[in-house]
Each structure stands twice: as structure tokens, then as C-alpha cells.
């Protein structure tokens, strides 16, 4: 507001100190939500970090994991899986990552995108500049994790990797099934509403489906239309004043660093088999008929919906947590996981099943009323005179 030129200061000091310094103009009033900040940060990191301080990474299957922020240790869980199946993680944007790792990202063969909303910009820009293809993955949910791993295997198309991935899934699934056998009967048919994030309200439906719980309603706080309806709507989205405020970087193929990871024949062969690049179908196609999708829910709407739908569980953040719980309905925070987690991958899924069982079936929800509230009539008794 007062017009400080933090970019000029950063540039001067970068020259003076010889370390990377960059600034981001993140006016709190700019854009409609935190999503604008993601876009601004994507641009800044792409301009000032990616490729800048490249360190060679060795490995046969080198990938970047985009849009994974290591909440509750989810990133550690995915790193563990990648290591076990022989995928080399060049960098994560940006959970448990480092400046050097992120600057080395251009060496990867593939970008996989966990949170589409926050980082699809970087995926797109890296594809244009370096020729790294990207597709959407989801490591939340055991089945979704298996599906994502199989898609990575399909991309590489090498038996060695596919076998390792299949073996890993075969090794992990029995304990997931065992946990479900035990916990699903305790949760099946229970209902949940989710108002959270720009991807999470979608991703977590996987875990609730595995538990047999019904998602009555879901919505994001800072998503765009494509996160609801899929990227197919992108060409038809009208750019409004708010989105026009965020800079779109002009990215062109790098003369020296662009390298197509797959030749056109390989790409068409994969696509002919139904393989999709740059794919995100959004949240809505996977939701049940007659479920509600509500964007950027207000407190009033939340109260009314709770009253009408009486869900068994709600997922949102700290500002909703105590409001909902005062109503006698448990709330699971999906921003910071209530300091729980990890919930990604196979072990994470089991952790989540247990957490939801703990929360939904906790004894205190049945103790809300005192005996004299349950049965207010006075009973008479004889008193000796």
C-alpha cells in the first residue's frame, strides 16, 4: 500500500551477498483467496529457483512431486513409498524440500501433481520450458495411492519398475484390508461433510469411500472452477478483474534445456491406451448423485446445513472446529490434521481409519446430557422427621 519496492531491494542484496533473494508481492487484498498467493509463489519459485542452482541427481526414474506440503508427515510417507519402489525423488514442491532440490527439478523425467490447485502453474511452466510432462496423482487413500503408482509405472513402461510397484502394492494392501475389516463395520453408513482447501475436499473422499462413509456435501475454500468440474472447463473460463491481477509468466521452450521426455509416438501410444496427461477431472464427477457441492461456505450456511443434514463428522479447519464440536459433532481438521497424521499412502490410510473411528465413536459424544437432564422429574422419597 505504501509502495515499497521489495523486489529492487532483493535484487540489490542478491548481488551484494551472492545468495538467492527474491520477493513476492502478496497484497492481502489482492485476488479472492489464498489461491492468488499460490500463483504468485509459483511464478516466483519458477523464476528464481527452478534450474538456478542445479545439482546433478542420479537415478533411473527421476520424478518431482508437486503440490505436496508434508502436512502431518504425508511427504515422509510418500518419500518412503518412492524409495521402496525405486523412484528417485528429485524434489518436492514444497514439503520437506530444499532450495537445492527445487532448483534441481529440471532433471526429472516426470512431474506428478498432488494438489492441482496450488501448483498446476509450475507443472505447466516446467512442461513448456523443459519438456517435463505432468499428470495428476493422489496419494490420499490406499486405492488412490495404488492407482497413482500404477500410472507412474505405465508412464515409464518398464517391467522392472512395474514389477516393483506391483509387489509393493501387494505387500501393503493386506494390512490395509485388515484394518478395514476391523474398522469399516464401525463407520459404514456414517455421513460426513467437508469444507476444506483446494484439493483436500476431493482427495479425502477416497478415504471416506474406503470406510463406506457417505460424503453428503463437500466444498473448497480457495479452489477454482477446474477443481470442481475438471480442466475441461479451462478454455471457457472468463478471466475476471481478480484473476487478471495475477501475473501470467510468458514461458517458452528453453533453447538449451528443453528435452522432450517422450517422443510424439510414445505419447500417442500411451494416449491410445487411455493414458491422460495434464489430467484433472475435478471433484464433482466422483461425487454421488444428490450430494451437495458448496463453494466458500459461510458460517450461516454451515450452521443451517448441520441442522438439516445432521452429519456424523465434519472436516474443516480450526475456525470451524469448536463451533461444530459444541454442536456435539466431531470435527477433523484437514488443514493441520489436529497435529495427527500422516494420512497419505498405505500406512497413512490405516492411520486415518483409526483416527476417524476414534473421533466418531468417542464415548464423550454420548455424555452430553446429565442424568437430571435426561430425566428431570423429581422422585419423592420419605424423610424421617
Amino acid at each position: 500500500m505504501i509502495g515499497d519496492d521489495i523486489h529492487a531491494v532483493a535484487k540489490d542484496l542478491e548481488a551484494e551477498l551472492g545468495i538467492t533473494i527474491f520477493a513476492m508481492s502478496c497484497e492481502g487484498y489482492k485476488g479472492v483467496s489464498q489461491s492468488a498467493g499460490h500463483h504468485i509463489a509459483n511464478n516466483a519459485v519458477f523464476e528464481h529457483v527452478v534450474g538456478k542452482n542445479l545439482q546433478e541427481v542420479k537415478g533411473k526414474y527421476k520424478i518431482n512431486l508437486l503440490g505436496e506440503y508434508n502436512i502431518g508427515g504425508d511427504g515422509f510417507e510418500i518419500e518412503k513409498i518412492f524409495e521402496a519402489v525405486g523412484l528417485t525423488l528429485v524434489s518436492t514442491f514444497s514439503g520437506n524440500s530444499t532450495f537445492v532440490a527445487m532448483s534441481s527439478a529440471p532433471q526429472a523425467d516426470l512431474n506428478v501433481v498432488q494438489c492441482h490447485r496450488s501448483i498446476n502453474y509450475t507443472a505447466e511452466m516446467m512442461e513448456t520450458k523443459y519438456g517435463i510432462p505432468w499428470f495428476k496423482v493422489n496419494f490420499v487413500g490406499a486405492k488412490a495411492t495404488a492407482k497413482s503408482l500404477r500410472k507412474i509405472a505405465e508412464y515409464y513402461g518398464e517391467a522392472e519398475l512395474s514389477d516393483r510397484i506391483e509387489n509393493y502394492i501387494a505387500q501393503e494392501m493386506p494390512k490395509v484390508e485388515a484394518a478395514l475389516t476391523k474398522l469399516r463395520p464401525r463407520l459404514e453408513g456414517k455421513t460426513v461433510m467437508m469444507y476444506v482447501g483446494g484439493s483436500r475436499a476431493h482427495h479425502y473422499q477416497e478415504l471416506f469411500n474406503e470406510l463406506g462413509m457417505r460424503v453428503l456435501s463437500a466444498g473448497y475454500e480457495f479452489a477454482h472452477r477446474d477443481d470442481y468440474e475438471g480442466r475441461k472447463v479451462l478454455p471457457n473460463i472468463k478471466v475476471d478483474a481478480d484473476s487478471r491481477n495475477i501475473e501470467e509468466l510468458e514461458v517458452t521452450p528453453s533453447a538449451t534445456e528443453f528435452k522432450a521426455r517422450k517422443n510424439p509416438q510414445e505419447i500417442s501410444a500411451l494416449e491410445a491406451k487411455g493414458f491422460e496427461f495434464r489430467d484433472y477431472q475435478g471433484m464433482m464427477p466422483e461425487m454421488e448423485e444428490n450430494s451437495l457441492v458448496i463453494d466458500d461456505i459461510s458460517h450461516y450456511e454451515l450452521e443451517k446445513l448441520i441442522e438439516i443434514l445432521q452429519p456424523d463428522l465434519l472436516c474443516a479447519g480450526i475456525k470451524e472446529k469448536y463451533v461444530v464440536q459444541k454442536n456435539g459433532i466431531p470435527l477433523k481438521q484437514l488443514h493441520n490434521y489436529d497435529i495427527g497424521g500422516p494420512y497419505a499412502g498405505f500406512d497413512g490410510a490405516i492411520e486415518f481409519y483409526q483416527e476417524i473411528d476414534r473421533l466418531v465413536n468417542a464415548p464423550y459424544w454420548k455424555m452430553l446430557r446429565a442424568p437430571w437432564q435426561e430425566n428431570p422429574q423429581l422422585s419423592a422419597s420419605f424423610v424421617q422427621k
Binding site: Y29, D242, Y300, I318, Y322, V323, K326, N327, G328, R369
Partner: protein, 461 residues
């Protein structure tokens, strides 16, 4: 690999200007919002962008583990360029039609301050245009965060309550005004209990008991039963006197009650510890003309008994503490009463008077100590590296230093994000001092036990 979390803290203290590393304060609107929640049926309103309001609600929710409801003018570029009047007018309409509070307490943000929005003018316009229903009140305060800290925002909102609500209608109510300062709901509850046991009719404001410590009943109430009623805030102008607790948080409101409504006042420190509570009860006794019941004198005696019983474990132990000025002055005095030696005392809130106030309560230590205002957690950490302490007292942000330096740590202040109890059990009064002393003792004794050699591991202590 080092397991230190603050491994980059250099021991050598070099002069710093402009750069703050790990602040020991937060911003004015957080305090204004907390104060406003102490009015019954009040919806705080943040006049600025949405993210500010979101942060204030988040940090208050995390500390109190309670719903914290507040509205925002939700500025975008338009409001930032053309002013936030249209946003605030339409916000007030929506607030009263949808959420129907008794009072809306508006505070500014850095953005609305910088563009120069005039809250008084906008709210007057709202009233003239009939956007404020009859019997409802909208109060406002200015809370630019580049001035002071959260405690100044608290003080500003409390002062605005007096300025815009309290009236002297020439009908003396025979009550005492108590301005408790930034204390916990449990503290406000305890002050009520002390005043009731003294038999003093009183108006306590703001009062977050019953607002930010509500029971789990199965039904959410946006305006819980607690909070100072609007009628009492108005009537505070008819009281026989005001006792303000905390120079910074409560002083300005007490002084305004005097100039505006001719209510005489006495400004005291927070009633933490023995002497602090003595002064509070003595001032109330004299102002209200009551005698102190035995029950309070006995509480005092129990506190003194604990202090004398456990003196050997506290005597001479060095303490570092950080937090907000009103709390630190009172707590430092208590530590000196316990015969402990507070040697590093750091606040993020600017104000030179803090130095002299701490000096006044540490005189009898007879040794130089480090007192810093407008300072930060890095500086505190450096002070500790240069002279070790036996105990650290402060809000949750101290846990990093406590872990790295392996210090016993007592959580006290705002915010406490990682423990419970601070909102439920008082720290003020003799009862509160008992609890504080117990927590300090437990931290010290647990450490003695942990570090004791087998032959020095004692059963009775």
C-alpha cells in the same frame, strides 16, 4: 545431524535495527477482538481484508480452544483504492439481518488505517441510514498494527467501550468498576468470586468468562451467556470508582471514565502473586468501604504457607521470562517474592516505561538484570545463551528455546497453543498465585528429580 531447532542463534549479541527475528508480540486487532468478545452478545468486526480476520480468529481459537466468531469487511482492490465505506455499510446490514448481535465492535487493520478510513464517520452514516437497528450498538476503535502490539489493541478497544458507551446519568449505582486487563476467562471468573466474597457490587469489563470457556452441551450458541452486558457498560459511568488492573491494558479506559463520567480511579498492576493481590484487595476494600472476610485472609495465608514450605527449592534460581508488559511486571514481582532471580525479562511490546517498572520490582535483587522492550525471541535466546537460567516462563513460542537449551518451562501468557488449563484455572488472586507457584515448583522439582544422581534421588521433597 543437530537436533537443535534454533541452531542458527548466535551467542554473540550484535546491535540490530529494523530486523525482528521471531517476534514476541502480535498485532493490535488480536487484542481488540479478544476485548470485544468480553461484551455479551458482541460480534467483533475486522475492517480490512479477509486474511487479517482469519488470522486473528485462528490464533484466538488456538489459545482458547473455543469458537471465535468475527466478521470482516473483506477488502479487495476496489475497497483498498476507493475506501472501505461501502464494504462496512453492507457488512453491518448483513451482520444485523443474519447474525443479530447486541453489539458490533469494529476495529481497523493496517490496510484501512493506511488508506485513512474514518470509522466514526462510516458508522454514523450507517446509523443515519437506518442500518443499525434500534437498541443495537456499533462501537469502533483504531488498531494500526505498526503501533504498539496486541496489548495496545486490547487497551484501545476497552477505552472505546468507555468512550462510546459509558454515561454518567447522575444515578449513582453504588458499584465498583473493575477493568481486569488482558487475563484469561478463568481469571475474570476468579475476580468475580473475590469481589463477591468481599460483598462488592461491581461491573467487570471486558469479561470473557462464559464466552471463551463455554461448556460442551450439544448446541452451539453464537452469543454465549457470558460477557459484560451492554447495560452494565453504559452504567459504568455511574459507578463509585474504578479499579484498573494493568497499566497498559486497563489504564487508559479508567482515566477516560474519570474525565468523561467523573468516576475516580486507581490503577494497579495485575493481581498476580502475594503483594499484587494484597494491593488489589486493599484498594477494593478502601474504595468500596468493606472489610475483608476471613476466607480471603485464609487464602492469603495458604499461599504464604506454600511459599515458606517450598522456599528451599525456589531460592536463588534464575528465571528468564517473556511476554506482555502488564503480565511481566506482576510476574517478576511474584518471582522476587518467591526469592527467585528473574534475570532476563523480554517483551515485544514497545515502551520505555516497561524498563523502569521492572527495575522497581527487582531492586532488592541487588544485581544487574537484562530488561528489553520492543525486543524479540532471538534476543531472549541470546541472553539465555550468555547467562544460563534454571527456568523459562512465557507463551508457547518459548518451547523452542526451552528444548534447545534444556530448560524447565512454565507456559504463561498469550498465546498458549499447545497446552490446556490456562483458560480454565485462574492465575490471579491468592488462588491463582497458588496455582502459579505450584506449576513453577513442579517444573523445578521435576527437573531436580530428572537430574538427580541415584544417591541424591529423594522420596520426600
Amino acid at each position: 545431524m543437530s537436533t537443535k531447532l534454533l541452531k542458527h542463534t548466535p551467542q554473540e549479541i550484535q546491535p540490530r535495527e529494523a530486523l525482528v527475528v521471531n517476534p514476541a508480540k502480535t498485532c493490535q486487532p488480536v487484542g481488540a477482538m479478544y476485548a470485544a468478545l468480553g461484551i455479551h452478545g458482541c460480534l467483533p468486526h475486522s475492517h480490512g481484508s479477509q486474511g487479517c480476520c482469519s488470522y486473528h480468529r485462528t490464533v484466538l481459537s488456538r489459545h482458547y480452544k473455543e469458537p471465535v466468531m468475527a466478521a470482516t469487511s473483506s477488502f479487495t482492490e476496489g475497497a483498498s483504492v476507493f475506501g472501505g465505506q461501502a464494504n462496512l455499510l453492507s457488512a453491518l446490514e448483513t451482520i444485523f439481518s443474519t447474525y443479530n448481535p447486541e453489539v458490533v465492535a469494529v476495529h481497523t487493520t493496517c490496510l484501512s488505517e493506511t488508506i485513512g478510513d474514518d470509522l466514526k464517520q462510516i458508522i454514523t452514516k450507517a446509523q443515519e441510514e437506518g442500518k443499525v437497528p434500534a437498541g443495537k450498538q456499533v462501537i469502533w476503535t483504531n488498531t494500526p498494527s505498526y503501533v504498539g502490539s496486541h496489548v495496545i489493541g486490547f487497551a484501545n478497544m476497552v477505552k472505546s467501550m468507555v468512550q462510546q458507551l459509558s454515561r454518567n446519568t447522575q444515578r449513582p449505582n453504588g458499584k465498583l468498576n473493575i477493568i481486569p486487563g488482558w487475563v484469561e476467562p478463568a481469571d475474570m471468573r476468579e475476580l468475580h468470586r473475590i469481589l463477591d466474597s468481599l460483598g462488592v457490587k461491581h461491573i467487570l469489563f471486558p469479561d470473557t468468562s462464559g464466552v471463551l470457556d463455554t461448556p460442551l452441551t450439544g448446541s452451539f450458541d453464537m452469543y454465549p451467556s457470558g460477557g459484560t452486558p451492554l447495560s452494565e457498560l453504559i452504567d459504568a459511568g455511574n459507578s463509585l470508582g474504578t479499579v484498573a488492573l494493568g497499566t497498559i491494558c486497563s489504564g487508559p479506559a479508567a482515566k477516560l471514565l474519570d474525565t468523561q463520567c467523573k468516576v475516580p480511579y486507581e490503577i494497579l498492576g495485575l493481581p498476580l502473586g502475594l503483594a499484587g493481590t494484597d494491593r488489589f484487595i486493599d484498594a477494593v476494600r478502601k474504595m468500596a468501604g468493606v472489610s475483608v472476610p476471613d476466607v480471603l485472609t485464609e487464602e492469603r495465608g495458604r499461599l504464604l504457607d506454600l511459599i515458606s514450605d517450598m522456599h528451599q527449592y525456589l531460592y536463588g534460581r534464575k528465571v528468564a521470562l517473556f511476554g506482555d508488559p502488564d503480565q511481566l511486571v506482576a510476574l517478576t514481582e511474584f518471582l522476587v517474592e518467591l526469592d527467585m532471580i528473574p534475570i532476563h525479562i523480554v517483551t515485544g511490546t514497545p515502551g520505555k516505561k516497561f524498563i523502569s517498572r521492572i527495575e522497581a520490582v527487582t531492586q532488592r535483587l541487588g544485581r544487574p538484570i537484562n530488561i528489553a522492550e520492543a525486543s524479540d525471541m532471538l534476543h531472549l535466546h541470546q541472553l539465555i545463551k550468555n547467562e544460563k537460567v534454571d527456568l523459562l516462563i512465557g507463551n508457547t513460542y518459548g518451547k523452542y528455546i526451552a528444548r534447545d537449551e534444556d530448560l524447565p518451562f512454565v507456559r504463561f501468557g498469550f498465546p498458549v497453543l499447545d497446552r490446556s488449563g490456562h483458560t480454565l484455572f485462574p492465575s490471579v488472586g491468592y488462588q491463582g498465585a497458588l496455582r502459579l507457584a505450584e506449576r513453577i515448583l513442579n517444573a523445578v522439582l521435576d527437573r531436580i528429580d530428572r537430574d538427580a544422581a541415584p544417591e541424591k534421588f529423594e522420596l520426600a521433597m
